[in-house]
């Protein structure tokens, strides 16, 4: 197991390298560069050239990339070309917001969809099955921005139960009030997927021989469902939860914009639109790392849930 984890961690090096090359190329081949944004639309041509020169954009691509990698090796992600702040600092202030939203969002998704899926599978084709699935499907059929704006309108603007915008750390009650609506918004889409998945996975295991054996032994029915059936139905669920978590870590841009959360998603999109190359590169690297790590955690979780899964 330890050697497996080490191997996977080592695999991150080529992944990060590949990602850095890709991002670098895509950014530099996209029309427009940060000098146009920094200098503004009415800047004289020599000012744009001067800014380009200061940012090193007038050098050949391989020189620019080489310099970037050299700095990266020294742990320097560079400075934002627009705010002139070190990129690392910007990432470290936005990452906690994104992680908080991802954690609460995923927890909420699981808390709603797994019980719904189990109940629906256990009472297959009953009105209850139909009703629960209809409800989650309806919630996820709406686009995220619509869900967000509707929640905002009802609970923040009309009822004033939750704050309109902003963020506070989750160590405070205020933080939970700020994260509540965004978390519901990001989970609205994933809930249906996960509930359906739990349901079909459960249906499969509920008909397995070992479940019948467990029942034949006279075990307590909820114990049969949870310990015997559900545990075995969990693998695909874990996969989706892991993917969803990784997806949310890459920033729920729309949700962050609607609720004015200062997270990575907005940082990244602003940086892309402003061609803020160092910020985009730093953020994407960090995302690639977290994605690889999340996948690793998911694989470890497989082994924990299913003793048959062993990593040599």
């Amino acid at each position: 197991m330890a050697s497996y984890v080490t191997g996977r961690l080592l695999l991150m090096v080529p992944v990060v390298f590949g990602v850095s090359v890709l991002v670098f190329l895509i950014l530099h081949l996209t029309p427009g560069n940060p000098a146009l944004v920094v200098a503004g639309p009415d800047a004289p041509p020599d000012v744009v050239r001067d800014v380009e020169h200061t940012l090193g954009l007038d050098q050949p691509l391989y020189v620019q990339y080489g310099k970037y990698v050299l700095r990266l090796i020294h742990g320097d992600l560079g400075r934002s070309v627009r705010s002139h702040e070190p990129v690392l600092g910007q990432l470290l202030t936005t990452l906690p917001v994104t992680i908080a939203l991802a954690l609460v969002g995923v927890a909420l998704t699981v808390a709603v969809s797994v019980p719904v899926g189990i109940v629906a599978a256990y009472n297959r084709n009953s009105p209850l099955d139909l009703a629960t699935i209809c409800a989650v499907l309806a919630a996820s059929a709406m686009p995220v921005f619509a869900v967000g704006l509707i929640l905002l309108w009802i609970f923040a603007i009309s009822l004033r139960w939750f704050p309109l915008s902003g963020y506070a750390p989750l160590t405070t009650v205020d933080g939970w009030r700020h994260i509540a609506l965004p978390a519901v918004t990001v989970s609205s889409g994933a809930v249906a997927l996960l509930a359906r998945l739990t349901r079909s996975s459960m249906l499969e295991t509920l008909h397995q021989d070992y479940v019948r054996t467990a029942r034949a032994k006279g075990l307590w029915e909820p114990g049969v469902v949870i310990r015997h059936a559900f545990r075995n139905a969990l693998l695909p669920v874990i996969t989706i939860v892991g993917l969803q978590f990784g997806f949310l870590l890459s920033g729920a841009v729309v949700t962050e914009s609607i609720f004015s959360l200062p997270g990575m998603g907005r940082l990244l999109v602003d940086a892309i639109l402003g061609r803020d190359f160092p910020v985009v590169q730093g953020a994407v690297l960090l995302l690639a790392l977290t994605f690889v790590l999340t996948n690793l955690l998911v694989d470890i979780a497989y082994a924990a849930v299913d003793p048959r899964v062993r990593y040599a």
Partner: protein, 528 residues
């Protein structure tokens, strides 16, 4: 069991931390002014940015040698008086006494000198060209600063009143180095407010500088500032930004979408303020692309566009017709544009094109000449009302037989495409405070951008240079008027509209007048 105890302790601790925060976070009607904006401040180093969102904060944290009144007239600021040598090449400023930076250090001419020297030599500064003729700066005594220019620059005084010319504490700049302007403790100015906290993409908090008594003459209150705290809150989306004023979280919000204005006018929780700043929305032609080298074609397009329809359909009535490149009210504005400017006249447009040899093969099809269709690539970047505007222009021009191929581009790619000259025509709205904007757009050495029209005319260049170098106001204003005449007669643009700006305020906020810099230093605002 121990685990439960631990959780209880944690929960209690969280509660203990949260309660005082909740109290502090409650909207304090007395003393806190919250300003909701769609864009985040870039940097608080005034010499490194062109973002309006940064300028709005800079005006609170810093002062400038000179200030602008409501009519964009130059008034004293940190300099109480100034003299200009007859040749226009030496400016001598006398600094006001008793001014201190937020850190407590008294303002001295050495700070002004170091600010100006840093600005004009800062590598990659997007605004340094504002004082490019300045050759050297002297500080002969602590109260006097002298700028020496290699050639006169008529708009120097106005440039010295802009946020980019904010006077910085030389010691703070040296101490912070590259980090200057990136956060609290790395900013030091003489302005009415002091930076307290900055959480990017969320809020920027400034607190009153109690020692401030040197506010510019346009204000009745010269300091200290009326609010104990000003919070700039970044809310990207329109709905929550407007709602923040409706529910009382914020007292002021900018960038209000035109389509919401009729409903907001009836909403008693907000007060809608419309005001005119100097701006012109226009379509620019690439004269080097055939057939736009033909003046008749450009004139016909000017005649074929219905500005009234655009004002209603794209601006919800919140704009006025533009007949020339500059808005009425700009110094040096040319009244002749009202007489000879283009007004919607589709039959005239058709007649011109007919006479010019452009024939329509069939109704609804683009006109042709020598087998070439009259079809133009129209680049634009999305914004409020822009999509509607482009559709209207396309359908109006189709009516006179001109085909328009609109292509939507994201802002940075749009600027790059214009710089590369990919357009036949493009749409932009330009904002300005002086007629010197003409220099940026029409001087031949400003090609390929912002002179995105290929306009190269020796007489235009001569007049533009004269407008910058002349020390005679009459001569300068004459030059501006002649320039506007040249631009209209040559139909280099289709001037479309002068847009009105809309902001909303809570009803208990009194805003005496809007400034070209929005709320500027906020000294005369009151909150009941």
């Amino acid at each position: 069991m121990t685990r439960i105890v631990r959780w209880c302790v944690l929960a209690l601790a969280a509660f203990a931390v949260a309660v005082p925060r909740l109290a502090a976070g409650a909207p304090a009607a007395n003393g806190t002014f919250t300003f909701a904006r769609p864009e985040e401040t870039e940097t608080l180093d005034p010499e490194k940015t062109t973002a309006v969102s940064s300028a709005e904060v800079d005006y609170l944290l810093y002062d400038t040698l000179l200030s602008l009144d409501y009519a964009n007239g130059v008034k004293p600021g940190l300099a109480e008086k100034w003299t200009i040598s007859p040749d226009g090449k030496t400016y001598t400023f006398t600094l006001r006494q008793g001014v201190r930076f937020a850190s407590g250090k008294p303002l001295a001419s050495a700070d002004v000198k170091s600010t100006m020297d840093r600005w004009r030599t800062l590598k990659g500064s997007p605004t340094a060209f504002n004082i490019s003729p300045v050759e050297s700066v002297d500080a002969p005594n602590p109260a006097t600063v002298v700028l020496h220019l290699k050639e006169p620059l008529s708009i120097l005084l106005i440039n010295l009143a802009g946020y980019s010319a904010s006077i910085l504490n030389a010691d703070a700049v040296n101490r912070a180095g590259d980090d200057y302007g990136t956060g609290a403790g790395k900013v030091d100015g003489t302005g009415p407010y002091v930076l307290k906290e900055w959480v990017r993409n969320d809020r920027l908090v400034v607190t009153r500088n109690p020692a401030y008594t040197w506010g510019p003459p346009l204000y009745k209150n010269h300091g200290p500032a009326p609010f104990g705290t000003v919070v700039f809150h970044t809310i990207v989306e329109d709905t929550p930004r407007v709602a923040s004023v409706q529910v009382g979280d914020a007292q002021f919000a900018e960038s209000i979408p035109g389509e919401q204005v009729p409903a907001l006018d009836k909403d008693r929780r907000v007060h809608v303020i419309r005001y005119a700043d100097l701006n012109t929305a226009f379509i620019g032609f690439k004269l080097g692309h055939k057939p736009l080298d033909d003046l008749r074609v450009r004139q016909a397009i000017n005649d074929g566009i219905n500005r009234q329809e655009i004002i209603q359909g794209a601006y919800y009535g919140l704009a006025t017709e533009a007949l020339g490149p500059l808005a009425p009210g700009t110094p040096g504005w040319w009244p002749g544009a009202e007489k000879i400017g283009y007004r919607y006249d589709p039959s005239k447009a058709k007649r011109i094109l007919d006479e010019d040899g452009w024939t329509q093969p069939a109704p609804g099809q683009p006109r042709q000449k020598n087998g070439q269709p009259l079809s133009l690539l129209f680049l634009y970047s999305p914004g409020p009302g822009v999509e509607q505007l482009v559709n209207l222009v396309q359908s109006e021009l189709r009516g006179v037989g001109v085909a328009v191929r609109p292509q939507r581009m994201e802002w940075t790619a749009f600027l790059a495409a214009l710089r590369a000259g990919q357009h036949d025509m493009f749409f932009i709205n330009v904002r300005y405070v002086t007629p010197d904007v003409l220099y940026f757009y029409f001087h031949s050495k400003q090609r390929p951008a912002p002179n995105r029209f290929d306009w190269a005319d020796p007489e235009t260049d001569r007049l533009l240079e004269l407008s910058r170098s002349s020390t005679n106001d009459r001569e300068r204003m004459d030059a501006y008027q002649k320039l506007q005449q040249i631009i209209v007669q040559n139909a280099i643009w289709v001037p479309l509209v002068h847009e009105k700006r809309v902001v909303i305020a809570s009803p208990n906020l009194t805003v005496p007048q809007m400034h070209a810099n929005v709320l500027y230093k906020m000294l005369d605002l009151t909150l009941k």
